[in-house]
Subunit: 256 residues, 2 copies
Amino acid sequence: MSDNSSNDPASGPDRAGSSAAYSPLYQQIKSLLLQSLDRGEWKPGESIPSEVELAARFQVSQGTVRKAIDELAAENLLLRRQGKGTFVATHHEAKVRFRFLRLTPDDGKQPVSGSQILDVRRVKAPVDVARALDMRASDVVVNLRRLLSFDQVPTILDDIWLPGAAFKGLTAESLARYRGPLYALFESEFGVSMVRAEEKIRAKAAGPEAAQLLQVEPNSPLLQVERVSYTYGDRPMELRRGLYVTERFHYRNNLN
Amino acid sequence: MSDNSSNDPASGPDRAGSSAAYSPLYQQIKSLLLQSLDRGEWKPGESIPSEVELAARFQVSQGTVRKAIDELAAENLLLRRQGKGTFVATHHEAKVRFRFLRLTPDDGKQPVSGSQILDVRRVKAPVDVARALDMRASDVVVNLRRLLSFDQVPTILDDIWLPGAAFKGLTAESLARYRGPLYALFESEFGVSMVRAEEKIRAKAAGPEAAQLLQVEPNSPLLQVERVSYTYGDRPMELRRGLYVTERFHYRNNLN
DNA sequence: CAGTGGTCTAGACCACGTG
DNA sequence: ACGTGGTCTAGACCACTGC
């Protein structure tokens, strides 16, 4: 705040939300950065302006910008690379691919993966799906089913629900052609960046259809993983129900 | 560094490990703090010295101490409370109790929990246990089995393995008397603070004994959770194999 | 009111990546 | 050589807690 002899963070020109109880400057800067990300001012994989530049733009010190970026980096929305700049996180890039997939081979060797699209439909949202995605039951959703194999062994059966409006051009053909993580496709083809997800996990006996597709005995124990993925602004954009075969794989998790 | 006109972080008096490639000052401070925690200089629940005090002790600026503490707080080893001080994390305290338990009721209402000790034995470590706990197979371990119930419904069957040396006085009687999380007991009775854990999760059919104890049909699908817990310095101190009934509960997880 | 952590600034220098 | 993020410092003031 160059024009302000006291360092009062609330006195400067109106930077973000105007009134509000009290929010530290760096939080306000963080919100502004989030808005820019959401607005698509900087695309996934691209670099954002340098800290000095942002400091000038927002009329704050570099340290304040830094703290805002620190938090966004901690949340994996941004990626700092010393000497190069700060980049918008992306689901392309080998390093963060399958960022949301916690299923891991017991022996540690990463397997060859293959995907088979079983079905793509556009339907009115079932109530539970509508509730999870914050939509009305009259809204249209895309329902996508696929089978993932690792080292040729069928391992994950996914049942995926997406808001129809945001995923207009999504067809079985475009999916069949595509190689790589779905989230990368969502990002580059539909401008939807998944930033965070919540999962609910339980054990479930395989039904007849799942057993057949996953090539296990009916009633075999499967891991059922229900995931809701969110974009910027905590807007839910995907509901995914997966059934995992955990014979030679396990779901890994770290607790702090 | 008051006595050093240049801000060279490597030139001052030898603060931590001496040589080593290069480590930022605040990382060295962090190591020193970790050593103090490990050594028990400050006990769980207690406050550590103030930032100014630590800055004076280590001959660095408050900002550097702050950054070290920031990281320890992010890892949940320390807890900052504005206006009061910085405290050593503890498994007592309602807020962080069951910090490592991710099983959550589907309806959100937190249940009444009860614990029943089934068995406590001291045996030579089986090979897999020895490997997980970084021990020799000739070493003695404590093996503890218990049944957790939520709202009177048997839900978790735990099979727990602990290094015998560190848990000398652990008996069935002392456990039966104790109420509250095991990790809190480990902390106050044995000076072992669990700081971090890794879990491997899979779906498993209930064997006859588990089915009987958990009051489910044999071959019912159960969540099998294998957890290794670590103290300071990444030393594994517990192997825990749990079987969870996920009829009215689920394992929740957040992905970033 | 004093003491604690929390925010903000300004400026110096370091490590890294690229030309 | 230059620009980027990373570290470190010193000092000011704010917000919260408890005496």
